[in-house]
Amino acid sequence: MGKISKPKLKSKIDFIIRVAGEGGEGVMSCGELFAKAVARTSYHVFTFITYPTEMKGGYAMTQIRIRDITIYSMGSFVDCMVVFNQEAYDKSISSLKEGGILIYDPEFTKIDESGNFVKYPIPFSQISVDTIGRALGKNVVVLGILSHIYGLAHPGLEKLINDRYGSKGKKVVEGNIKALKAGADAAKTIGVTTIMDLSKSEPANEEYMFISGNQAVALGAIAAGCRFSAGYPLTPSTSIFETLSKFLPLVGGRTIQMEDEIAAISAVIGASFGGEKVITPTSGPGLQLMAEQMSLASMLELPIVIVDVQRGGPSTGLPTKTEQGDMKFAVYGSAGESPRIILAPTGVEDTFYQTIRAFNLAEKYQMPVILLTDQSIGYRKATVKMPDFNKIFMVDQFDRKTKVKIPNAEHIDLVQRQIPTEDELKNYKRYKNTKTGISPIARPGTPGGQYLATGLEHDEYGKTNQGPENHLMMSKKRFRKLEQVSLAFERNPMETYGDPHVQIGIMGWGSTEGAIREARYLAEAAGVKVRHIHPHTISPLPEQQISKFLHRLKHLILVEENLTGQFAHFIKAKFGVKPIEVHKCEGMPFTPDEIFNAIMKVARIADEDNITNI
């Protein structure tokens, strides 16, 4: 078996902080400012946020994990919790570790005094009123308290406050800085313990970006050479289109907001026909609307990248929550048989590179590529190593041989779509039935390259032909490209982790990777070894790799965040296995602990099996 990663397991520093309150109370900005400040140190930061769909009110929280090694998930239990009100306390308290720190405002929260926590009642709302005359600054007071606990230097925080509130005027900035100090002073006066001194931490020695999964899509698209996006706002994908709208014009690109998702995907199809690399971001409800045009792109053999930031469904469902509920639709949602590629990134950094890969695949194989992320990746923020921009390589437009590598921080290939040679233009067949199924695309404006791209079945020239032989030939041509893709995937690096000889295996897709990985480490620490496979390509699947993984495996655990086990259906049908399915359908991501418990249960079953076998 290929390379098995040997991660650094021992971490000295691993803190999880949660700030919970009501939507509109500044929970997000407090958490974001804190996380940003930490991100500038040498520590890794990972944030997770969840908030209600409404503009104001309802439970909202942001969770920040700080670690001295790479972070794969939001973690399971919280070390330090700040609650703004009773609801936040009631909903969060079960996640606080025994002996953890609980900070609350006694005016708004009654707590269970018997809990085994370090309790700090601090009237942060009143402190805000006393300092700036309004309770609205309480989130910054809390930031001050946290800065005391974690030893964050104020000059850095003040600069971040200035960046964030500067546009609101000097008075607002000054008020917030006062509130920050008042919070830190109050913590000191009450005698809150300082756990660590982040101000003493060395600044990061490598260059990092601190970005969300959604920003990673936008930045990945720009890095891949995408210069056009058409979109329609849809939670939780909207910040992708917002980021593209801000930055694409700066690199000579264009974005247009359309009247709906159908128009958005139509516009990217038109722009792709014009020769540009294109992307349209959406979520499940939008993906449904795009279905007919996805089939058109498959039929016209035009490269397009679609991002589905999955949310809780069906219908309007849970717009701000997470779910892995669109897999079946992404793979099968088509009238007629239209080839497409589905990629499932596993985290923020991976999203950046998988986005570049999505463009490479789309441009090379001339079909829609759907990037299936979800709310938990989209809204999560993490430190991502800055890619080396000297290591970006363009694949020539006439190059039909180069084996494109999967992009990473050390090497990025950028595929440009194949164009016809002068010879080919003499009798140009846009849909030439080649060995690989890939036929060069003429860019409008090229003399002699004029062709018809029609959604009707057509011959090699593009002319309508609904004859039986032709339909079979062209259907095979289109699907031959997909076979090529799956062959390319088999040659790609293994997506298997852990000891390949153990009898328990765990499989997941997309955003659950981090939680599964950490659960595997926890299990190993508890003496239970598991192997893990996490394919990035949901369709086509790396079948040989999976078959190899399943070989001599006794117990397969299949983890996914939905009710019915969509990926499990897929795996069961393809490989004839009977996995133990672990589902979560609560709008929230798995914690490592939940998966660890599942592994331990299966380990006990495996033990019993062994006893019976004797």
């Binding site: 920003q215 128009a263 038109g270 045009q293 409008p444 002699g448």
Partner: protein, 282 residues
Amino acid sequence: MKIISQTFKTYKSAKIKPVWCPGCGDYGVLSALDKTFKTLEFKPEDIAIVSGIGCSGRFSHYFNSYSLHGTHGRALPTATGLKTVRPDLNVITIGGDGDGLSIGGGHIAHAARKNVDLTYIILDNNVYGMTKGQSSPTTPLDYKTKTAPYGVYEESLNPIAMFLAYNIGYIARTTSTDSKGMLSILTEAIQHKGFSMVYIMSPCVTYSVLPYAKLKEIVKPLPEEHDTSDKLSAFKYAYSDEHMYTGVFYKEEKTSLDERLKEVFNIAKISKTTSEIMAEFK
């Protein structure tokens, strides 16, 4: 490669011939558009035709241009995306009354708001011809069709009034029998900066909702005194019960989408490299 300056005899495709019924109005429009390209001395490789579904959706097949024949109702947003990234191309969008006013009707308002620099030609035959005789948004009230066997129970649309309300910068109506009128309007419309709408009455001979004879009877050129910058006057003629007026209803030069997006770039001013953008997220 040797570049030879040439005028093209025809822009029509040598490989693909129309499938329309003999006598169909669309043949006239095909010739008129071909003549227009000749008049404007376009190079075939710089023409992009985007069409939807229906008899007139087949237009994109019949020219030796870069052509995209997409799905029902989505020609306009598809062409919008194409023109946005390729302002150098001459983009023509063509479709029928079903494609453009029913399934795709919602897109017109937004193409108009964007003022995307393309020409949209709607060929109205007052019926769904390709699917063989169902009601369209312009089939008259009480007319019997296959889907309204007891008579159409909806009022028919007044497209010209609708285009005027959408603030489209160039609106004209003509008929498929008026080759001179089509040539002059198409030439002017394609040269017009911004979104232009050419509405052509193109009778169906198989499902003859509006026969040629009847069309001839009701059609009347807009009077010379009509001022094409006067929108209220344009509305008045659009709402006429007596006649179906033809000619240019309204003309207004406005900033195009391309110009506005260039402006956006000027506002943003600084051009950046990818690595400079990434650095903003440090």
